[in-house]
Amino acid sequence: MEVKTLEQTGGFTSKLDDMVAWARKFSIFQYPFITACCGMEYMSTACSHYDVDRFGAGLPRFSPRQADVLFVVGTISHKLAPVLKHIYDQMADPKWVVAFGVCTCTGGFYNNYATVQGIDTIIPVDVYIPGCPPRPEYVLDGLMKLQEKIQIEKKAY
């Protein structure tokens, strides 16, 4: 069979899965669940210097029902844990969770009576960004990892 180039056909073929995933990964509506120190680096990442908008993730939505990605930024205490779970449950599928900072990954150096030892004990996590707090470059790297994950994900829709 003769293979035509893009210029000849004026179009190209792809799998629907890939197309949908491609569209999804560049339209990340994030819900920033900001609690602590990491919020400062989240702010730095979101603002003009690092410009998270380049990755199609520039628009935070402050309603979980409109968000795709839950950014859990900062220490989660046991008092706050039910709230986090509640927010996660309100998000519509497909949804992803990014654990931002080492406190959300493992509890960090807050091994005490008040702190949740990693949010993955409460909700599933897709990407872990360690660091206390992670530098904006780490965050962008984590975001790109998340995009890769969204691209190859097989989801029923």
């Binding site: 046991h78 008092k79 844990a81 005490n112 009576y113 949740v116 004990t121 409460i122």
Partner: protein, 160 residues
């Protein structure tokens, strides 16, 4: 300026149990019974004029074997005179009760709630004594020395 604690001792000789100015921090230890009267005088008397309650906290002396187990510590500051005084009152574990300072300084409200939350010391006459930092389901008082620092009481998720 200077020798504030001596002046306190002079005025209420029977009520001051101990006093020192270790490292420049003037400190008096008061009897609990005279606490309210003396604090009121410290605040309102122009000689002392402590308009501000800078800090209110407690220390659990269990590991040091203190006989009245707790010390409630007040840090007072005077804006007009620019001097400071630390006032301490000792309370027993069995009778962990302090007269409230909310009638004198409004901020004592939250500080006392915190001391109750963290140490389990009650404040008599406090308008709304409930937990402030921890949640209502939490059992115990975490800053007491006999509370293990990593004993978790999660609301959801795995136990500890």
């Amino acid at each position: 300026m200077g020798n504030l604690h001596d002046r306190v001792k002079e005025r209420w000789p029977h009520a001051v149990l101990e006093l020192h100015d270790d490292r420049g921090d003037e400190t008096v230890v008061l009897m609990r019974d005279d606490f309210t009267v003396i604090m009121k005088a410290l605040k309102e008397d122009p000689e002392f004029d402590f308009q501000m309650l800078m800090d209110l906290t407690a220390v659990d002396g269990k590991d040091l074997g203190w006989k009245p187990r707790f010390e409630v510590v007040y840090h007072l500051y005077s804006l007009s005179k620019n001097h400071r005084l630390r006032v301490k009152v000792r309370v027993n574990e069995r009778d962990a009760l302090m007269p409230t300072a909310t009638t004198l300084w409004a901020i004592a409200d939250w500080f006392e709630r915190e001391v109750w939350d963290m140490f389990g010391i009650r404040f008599e006459g406090h308008p709304d004594l409930r937990r402030i930092l921890m949640y209502d389901e939490f059992v115990g008082h975490p800053l007491r020395k006999d509370y293990p620092h990593n004993k978790r009481q999660p609301l959801i998720g795995p136990k500890n």
